[in-house]
Symmetry: C2
Amino acid sequence: MSTIGSLALNSIHQGDCVALLKQIPDNSVDLIFADPPYNLQLNGELTRPNQTKVDAVDDEWDKFASMEIYDAFTTDWLKECHRVLKNTGSIWVIGTYHNIFRVGASLQDLGFWMLNDVVWIKTNPMPNFKGTRFNNAHETMLWAAKSEKSKYTFHYHSMKTMNDDLQMRSDWFIPICQGEERLKVNGQKAHSTQKPEELLYRVILSSSNVGDIVLDPFSGSGTTAAVAKKLGRNFIAFEREPFYIDVANNRLKEIIPIKDSLLEYKVEVKKPKVPFINLIDKEFIKVGDFLFSKDEKHTAQVQADSSIESNGFAGSIHKVSAHVLGKESNNGWTFWYVKQQGKLISIDDLREAFANQYLR
Amino acid sequence: MSTIGSLALNSIHQGDCVALLKQIPDNSVDLIFADPPYNLQLNGELTRPNQTKVDAVDDEWDKFASMEIYDAFTTDWLKECHRVLKNTGSIWVIGTYHNIFRVGASLQDLGFWMLNDVVWIKTNPMPNFKGTRFNNAHETMLWAAKSEKSKYTFHYHSMKTMNDDLQMRSDWFIPICQGEERLKVNGQKAHSTQKPEELLYRVILSSSNVGDIVLDPFSGSGTTAAVAKKLGRNFIAFEREPFYIDVANNRLKEIIPIKDSLLEYKVEVKKPKVPFINLIDKEFIKVGDFLFSKDEKHTAQVQADSSIESNGFAGSIHKVSAHVLGKESNNGWTFWYVKQQGKLISIDDLREAFANQYLR
DNA sequence: CCCTGTACTGAATCAGTAT
DNA sequence: GATACTGATTCAGTACAGG
């Protein structure tokens, strides 16, 4: 069995998440999903129009004496999360208007770099029984990288495919967790706030790789661990309540991982790196050839050292394209074209042709 | 012309919003809509796949030296907003993940009471050109009352009607502002972040009344003022840039207010009050009659003083219904039924029959 | 077996007015 | 400001019983 620091992987550990996080080495976790207490601050009872009582979230774990205490709690666990997260990793935190602004501000203050706020739009939320507000029909998930400059994992093309070949948007339409998926113990819901697996499916698939380590500091009913196992990731989860750990472990026993071969990111285009010089080597482009911008307003000539030169300015295909555009940087592959039989051909297409011929 | 403090109503005032807010008396504004700078922190230029430049928000008014300075700015104007807001009023603030957590936390810290976070889901957002994140397809609006205990205006039934007779939810599907609605000057968009009128239409209609005072501290292209005028509200707006004030004033000239008679909240239920004794007076129910709960498990007999008595417990229709249910309080009108020709008739229906006959 | 009607449920900061 | 009294209010989906 593999471990991380002194803690076993693919296991739910009992205890306070901050204390347990401290046992994890710096920069060792690929993905964090956190579903912390929301600090709902519900007052009295709520009855439906038919006089029945609403089974509210009144668990002790959601009670905080003040917003200051909630803020301190939030900063504590997020700080440790920042420390253990790899530079290539990212974190997701879910919440509602009760707590999400505290979480968001804390993330930013700790140096995390916000990537998206994704709204989980509930197709079947509980109504507002008293007619006092808009039906609170969504929750918010924050997705953030470790820092502004860090390179995070994101399977753009897979998400696009999942969304009918349109870019996956920041609004996700998913039903609340009910029916067969909802865990029950003696006919009662095992956990008051079990999240739908569909949510975690998208989170884990979009922002981690097979074999990665996924951490959940507030494991609860174990949805993160269950979906991580299903998707061939390693998980490490923390939970204070032994009852929830039992529930989650029973759940995990039933999970059958999806076969590795089915988990490959088949639609992710992994363009092999092709240095420009390779195209010259194989005479896709010859030294002395001219490159053109698409509108043919800019030209450059290919030099022997694979640099190109335009009106006395020389450099890489990228540098020169940026220079003629007056920009800091630019992608030369998509900027430059060669002329063959009077037609402009993108050098990016030549790169692909080269890769098909020599790199398969 | 009417004024508020020393400032003219239905006018856009040039200047810093905090300085101008200070000229407004305490508790004098019914509704605030604020579209503050988002502090986007965009670095460098963004180009589309075809190398054209994306016309990004790069206005000076969106630049802040640090998050601390942005926070201080946010607290400054929100504090004044809290002071000038009536106890019956509410505030809306729109933003994105760049700034909305700072705004939300500040609102909470200043004593505002969060009512909803409403997501404006863009039916036609700008794509994420680089394929590096989820398409940021929404913005977030926070709606808050002045304090936890304050009574705010909310036209529940109107919003329900507007939403095909289902409760209006916290997710609003509205296109971004483009086409005819988008203000242009010399072919260029007049303001980089003009909001769609549909958004303000819902905001103003849901949470203010005809004749109310609507304040916008960051007027910009004047959408709030325009919709307020259209909907028969008074507005007071602040803006630093004279250019935007010109644009907005030209826009306002064209706005024709909707006729008052069309602005009434016709679907808001104003049931005339009918005391139970009235039904006895007019013999819809007779002294000595029996009342039944719907399941007929509970019965009570009507007394001469309009109290009812059930198994030795006497009181109002409400008190007795609460007593037999073992609850603190209950609505007796919807709990009790009378039997006529063997069929149960709700006393709430009898009340309506009485009102139709005697109170028109 | 299917169809129908009833009961139940879900992260909810859930009342307003008069005295 | 506190207390007492009146009275307003639900959507989508699952589970199950009865026919």
